[in-house]
């Protein structure tokens, strides 16, 4: 898909996110908004996948795991917009009997979701398992993940980081949303992690920095670069320096909108900043 068309998808996904969380007065808009460009680029351009014929086993297609499950609004919107399920189903987000649970789950059979996430730190291990399964199946497609930077405080992540390089899981691209914020404040204030890139490098990963993680062209270059590094004995990490709340001015640059929904007035402001390009749900 051409770049300007991707930008149109980005705008619509941002509208979906704020409308979803506003409708139920709950959910996590901040991190969702910050990861829109990355997920749109993956699902609409880079991934080889079958939205109309979802198979749990994902044989011979690229698969993606969302490890920081609280940013469910963005993955739900992207999955619906790319064709996994009807866009109208976005209106059921977080409601009783919905397949769009607060945090993603396979329990309700939602197409595009292959693992439950929400309790943080588990997705990288799962992705390593799926990547290993692909190797056993002689399947050359790619496994992608996304993690929050705050999530890196979970110990299991580092068990997985150590394993992936030791066992040469080189069909895996793990992205970290480095927005430097978590619920209680900045990551530096809560538990400073120093150089995340240096840490991944020390664990013998390939590390790619994206200085503007909300820029489609920069993301495109990074994913292309990451793909070129696969199959050479090392897992690849993309550090996406994003802005939490990106695209909605009053949500940007603060951790306040991590898990808070906009009110009616704030919703109108947010929507005015993001053009309706594909039709609201």
């Amino acid at each position: 898909m051409p770049q300007d068309n991707l930008q149109a998808v980005v705008s619509q996904v941002r509208r979906d996110i704020v409308r979803m969380v506003h409708a139920v007065n709950s959910g996590h808009p901040g991190g969702s908004l910050g990861c829109v460009e990355y997920l749109v680029s993956l699902y609409f351009k880079h991934m080889n996948h079958q939205p109309k014929d979802f198979q749990m086993n994902g044989i011979d297609e690229d698969v993606f795991f969302l490890s920081n499950g609280h940013i469910s609004p963005v993955i739900y919107s992207v999955l619906a917009r790319v064709g996994y399920f009807k866009v109208s189903e976005l209106a059921t987000f977080r409601k009783l009997n919905s397949r769009l649970q607060g945090h993603p789950t396979t329990h309700e059979g939602l197409e595009g979701i292959r693992i439950a996430s929400g309790s943080l730190g588990q997705g990288l291990s799962v992705a390593i398992g799926a990547a290993t399964s692909k190797k056993l199946n002689k399947d050359n497609s790619i496994v992608y993940t996304l993690h929050g930077d705050g999530e890196l405080q979970e110990g299991q992540i580092w068990e997985a980081v150590m394993y992936a390089s030791a066992k040469k899981v080189d069909n895996l691209i793990a992205a970290v949303d480095v927005n430097e914020k978590q619920i209680d404040g900045s990551t530096d204030d809560v538990l400073a992690m120093g150089s995340i890139g240096a840490k991944f490098k020390a664990f013998d990963w390939e590390v790619i920095h994206v200085k503007d993680g909300n820029n489609l062209e920069a993301i495109d270059r990074a994913i292309t670069d990451a793909k070129s590094k696969l199959g050479k004995g090392k897992p690849v990490c993309i550090l996406l320096h994003t802005e939490m709340g990106n695209g909605v001015d009053f949500m940007m640059g603060t951790h306040k909108w991590h898990g808070v929904a906009p009110n009616d007035e704030q919703l109108l402001t947010a929507l005015a900043q993001n053009e309706e390009t594909l039709g609201d749900f």
């Binding site: 439950a116 990288l124 291990s125 692909k134 399947d139 068990e159 997985a160």
Partner: protein, 318 residues
């Protein structure tokens, strides 16, 4: 009563190893993971024969559970191996979210369960694992009684689609079940018929229940002994049919009385046909160091304890 004889004592963990080795040669989707306890879990044969399907993950059990969940995506049937303590409590959230809630086809295989791990003491002797696992929706919980049954259960769970917790142990115990029997998930088995009391036992306590039944027989008390290898889903019919005849029940397990198999039996009878029940189980305690025999004696998990419980429960019959 029907008598059973020990065909040569073996450890149940070796039954798991033998079952896994057989699966390695019959089912190429089966893969195995171990957290630095390959020898203790008797997974060496599989690891040596199928190095491409064996994953040594190091001392990182949480990561192992996640990798196992991921391996199912692509059609693999992962068997994880570590001690029962590190297979459950240590990784409860990983199992809960990535395996049980996500309904992944992972077989969590846990050795050194209960007191009979012996001298290592309470840090390694989990007595809460059956409870932890049975509380998880979708989780099948199996605690076979001897080498033969553990081998058969290991083979059987590969054909079942869904998460399973398979619990076994370290010490050599009597091997008395049929080596050619097929394991049926969710089915108890009457080992010995009787009309005075129903003894429902699981794991290492099944042999003790048979020993108790022999002594009780000589005292004129005829016990019906049920081997309840599957703790969840519980074979309610076999229990209810038996207590209809006997009017009382003793449960026996190497586990805390809270959360164990006995508690599940109690729930079954109290909601269907309330009869007196006595529990042979650890009384809300951690274990300690000692030989397996010393520990089973001190914590009253043997034939003598089952006999005492039987005499007590029969007196409570109306």
């Amino acid at each position: 009563m029907k008598k059973y004889s020990d065909t040569g004592s073996k450890d149940t963990r070796s039954g798991f190893g033998a079952g896994l080795e057989e699966l390695g040669n019959t089912n190429d989707q089966v893969v195995a993971l171990c957290a630095d306890l390959t020898g203790s879990l008797k997974m060496n044969a599989f690891a040596e024969q199928h190095p491409d399907r064996f994953f040594q993950v190091g001392i990182a059990e949480a990561n192992m559970m996640g990798i196992a969940a991921g391996l199912t995506i692509g059609g693999k049937i992962p068997f994880t191996g570590t001690f029962a303590n590190f297979s459950t409590g240590r990784v409860y959230d990983q199992i809960r979210q990535s395996i049980a809630y996500s309904f992944k086809n992972v077989k969590i295989c846990a050795s050194h369960a209960g007191l009979t791990l012996g001298e290592d003491g309470a840090t390694h002797q989990i007595l809460e694992d059956l409870g932890l696992m049975k509380m998880l929706p979708h989780m099948v919980v199996i605690n076979p009684c001897d080498f033969n049954q553990t081998k058969a259960a290991t083979i059987a769970i590969a054909d079942y689609n869904g998460p399973v917790y398979l619990r076994f142990g370290r010490p050599k115990v009597a091997n008395f079940t049929d080596a050619n029997a097929t394991f049926k998930i969710g089915k108890g088995e009457i080992l010995s018929e009787g009309s005075d009391v129903t003894i429902v036992a699981t794991g290492h306590l099944v042999w003790e229940a048979l020993q108790a039944a022999e002594k009780l027989d000589s005292l004129g008390i005829h016990a019906e002994v049920i081997n309840m290898a599957t703790v969840k889903p519980l074979d309610e019919k076999i229990i209810l049919d038996s207590i209809q005849k006997t009017g009382c029940v003793v449960t026996a397990e190497e586990h805390n009385r809270f959360g164990g198999m006995g508690e599940s039996v109690a729930q079954t009878i109290v909601t269907n046909n309330p009869v007196p029940q006595e529990f042979v189980a650890v009384d809300d305690s951690f274990g300690e160091s000692g030989t397996p025999a010393q520990l089973m004696d001190k914590y009253e998990l043997n034939a003598d304890a089952i006999i005492l419980a039987t005499q007590k429960v029969i007196k409570r019959k109306i």
